[in-house]
Symmetry: C2
DNA sequence: TAGCACATGTAACTCGTTACATGATTTG
DNA sequence: CAAATCATGTAACGAGTTACATGTGCTA
């Protein structure tokens, strides 16, 4: 039973073969919205998956002192991934540093407290813009085809859009509440 | 500079003095909604905070083979907490195992996929009910008093309510989309 | 020619979980 | 009398981050 990262890599390889470097990049950009890993985790994990027979690789020529390996998922890997995907994940305990700060914000300087929430708002606003751009670009595929990955890409994107909108609304509410009490921020 | 857990403990102690055990409990029930830790983390962290002069303790008598210590925050601890609270947290990379599973759900059995999302929906439905109960109980305090903790308790609760409602709506949408394609689930 | 993207690995360290350990008091 | 709750600690392990390490090819 490999780690969650192993299944993240399998999920990417089930769509197309990639090198370790390409997997690392994918763990920043499309997958990074819900799972991340650094390259120092990726290479050992690929070796473990290969030892288990869930991925295989061919050596292609590339730059640098080492071999460049292009990995692909095997039939056994695909079966393992499909089985893992429907096992309910254990309820994960949330870790939200911002909420922890809000919990102690009554001790803080009111102007600085307002600035904290405003900054957070901007982060989520930027993230929402990125998701909206992705949504505009995405070809959704045939929505009738549940065996094609596009619909599930779209489902994860919808979750991101919804999440950012909800956080944004909460930030707006909180900033307004803080301003109502202490007067609007100085210019 | 202590860990985030240190500030979580300070945040609790700024409200009232507690024993390590009481802090551990608080890290499950009220704080657990946005930060968790097990008791094996709490005791060493309390020792570190004490060494730094941010908390102090008095020994009270209790059961068991060891001393029972009741910890309280010091003036220095309170200053450190107030300063930390307004420093913007580094944007945290999300880790959402369910979304990772959704990303590979096109490979899975459609009925099992539907069951996965339905189960997730029930989890969030139960969590929403807990939050709504808490909201009904909560005395919000004088909303004009930004130096009192009650308003900020309420703010974190609002975030929980909003979060669960958004996830619930997404689950409902996804289940409906999956059913529309494969026909309603067998009874 | 300096920096970046490509490309792959190892090592040290931190944070968090699980398991090990002990023992009193209360409740079913 | 068994189990849960109160109460506090240490140790082993696993997952993840940061830093170390090497080297090519392209572009500003």
């Amino acid at each position: 039973m490999p780690s969650t990262l192993g299944y993240a890599l399998l999920g990417l390889l089930a769509r197309k073969p990639r090198t370790g470097y390409e997997l690392t990049r994918a763990l920043r950009e499309p997958i990074g919205y819900f799972w991340t890993a650094s390259h120092s985790q990726v290479y050992p994990e690929l070796a473990r998956l290969e030892a288990r027979g869930w991925v295989c690789y061919e050596i292609i020529d590339g730059p640098g002192p080492r071999d460049t390996k292009r990995y692909a998922i095997t039939a056994a890997g695909r079966r393992a991934l499909a089985a893992w995907a429907v096992v309910p994940p254990r309820p994960e305990r949330s870790r939200n540093e911002l909420l922890l700060k809000v919990y102690s914000l009554w001790l803080a300087d009111p102007a600085a407290a307002r600035a904290l929430i405003t900054a957070e708002r901007e982060q989520h606003s930027a993230m929402l813009a990125r998701y909206e751009k992705l949504a505009a670009q995405s070809e959704r595929g045939d929505p009738a085809d549940l065996a094609a990955p596009q619909f599930f890409d779209y489902a994860t994107l919808c979750r991101g859009l919804s999440f950012e909108r909800h956080v944004l609304a909460w930030c707006d509410w909180l900033v307004a509440a803080l301003e109502r009490r202490t007067g609007p921020a100085a210019p």
